[in-house]
């Protein structure tokens, strides 16, 4: 009976989508992702939740860059998020993948700062809540 209850609870939890995606994060980050979800709904009523695959596309999509010609997130973070990256100024970037770096995606202030900065850096504009959420889903899946 206990097993059945656990399984049911897990199924409910897993199928609820929102909570499932948010469960990858600590409470502070969960609240942040939920805030992004709310904003994404507000921006587009047909929004159905964040998607790691869309996040992957965002991560690898190249954009024109004044200094480098072309730039994507992978330019500095490399195409394997478990690896160390390198800034254009030559400094090592610790792996982005939480599986390789447990500090990643744990501090809301840091996450907000880098999402703001790096969307501007790569896309030349701020990311929407939808895009930020997708990117976080992709990074957290790595």
């Amino acid at each position: 009976m206990k097993i059945l209850l656990t399984l049911t609870a897990f199924w409910l939890f897993a199928s609820s989508g929102v909570s499932f995606s948010a469960s990858r994060f600590n409470p502070e980050m969960t609240a942040f992702v939920e805030g992004l979800e709310k904003q994404a709904h507000k921006d587009d009523s047909s929004f159905k939740g964040f998607d790691a695959e869309r996040g992957r596309k965002i991560f690898f999509e190249e954009h024109p860059n004044e200094k480098l010609g072309k730039i994507s997130c992978a330019t500095c973070h490399t195409s394997n998020l478990k690896n160390q990256g390198k800034t254009t100024a030559g400094k090592a970037i610790e792996p982005l993948a939480p599986s390789a770096n447990s500090k990643r995606l744990t501090n809301v202030k840091d996450v907000e700062k880098w999402l703001l900065r790096n969307f501007k850096q790569v896309l030349n504009r701020e990311g929407t809540a939808h895009e930020k959420g997708d990117a976080l889903m992709f990074i957290s899946s790595q």
């Binding site: 860059n65 200094k67 254009t88 100024a89 030559g90 703001l116 790096n118 850096q121």
Partner: protein, 182 residues
């Protein structure tokens, strides 16, 4: 004239070489600051502002504030949205804390010899944003060709620590230089 300069240089280098080495041992201690200042031709301070190290040092070598005048730091910190082509925007509180640290330790506000030399190499009319564009830097690196700076493990002239392996401790001494081969 050249000979005079050479003699002066040799004299200077000898003077530095005979300086007691143990004075460098306590680089990490604040108590060592007085001594460090005495050895002003050799070392700068060690960057000790946590916000500066975290925010600026995340992307590039955390240059000692003593390497640029306050007016340069002000201009840099006021144009972080386009920081040499990159977006380095910070929240206001963090930016003002960092600016305060940079200006209070800037080249004209500190008595290191290197700082004085940098200051005197800068025309008052200019607000240089790059340490590598100061006449002092150029003079000191005239033997290093552009292709060396472009080597993969160096990248650009502003990557101090790629060759000055103790640059993070404020030590830019020529004897500590190891230029990577590729």
């Amino acid at each position: 004239m050249k000979t005079v300069y050479s003699v002066m240089l040799i004299f200077l280098l000898t003077a530095l070489a005979v300086a007691p080495q143990n004075s460098f041992a306590d680089d990490d201690h604040h108590g060592g600051k007085k001594e460090k200042r005495w050895f002003s031709s050799k070392t700068l301070g060690q960057v000790n502002n946590a916000a500066y190290l975290k925010e600026c040092g995340a992307c590039h070598f955390a240059y000692q504030p003593e390497l640029l005048p306050g007016r340069s730091w002000e201009k840099i910190m006021n144009t972080l949205d386009n920081h040499f082509g990159d977006n380095a925007a910070l929240d206001k509180a963090t930016a003002s804390e960092i600016l305060n640290y940079l200006v209070s330790n800037s080249a004209e506000n500190i008595s290191y010899k290197k700082s004085r030399k940098i200051m005197s190499s800068l025309p008052d009319s200019e607000t240089t944003l790059r340490i590598t564009e100061t006449a002092y830097f150029i003079r000191k690196h005239h033997e290093v060709s552009a292709s060396v700076f472009k080597r993969k493990s160096i990248g650009f002239a502003g990557n101090c620590i790629a060759c000055h392996t103790n640059a993070d401790k404020g030590d830019y001494d020529e004897h500590g230089v190891t230029i990577p081969r590729n």
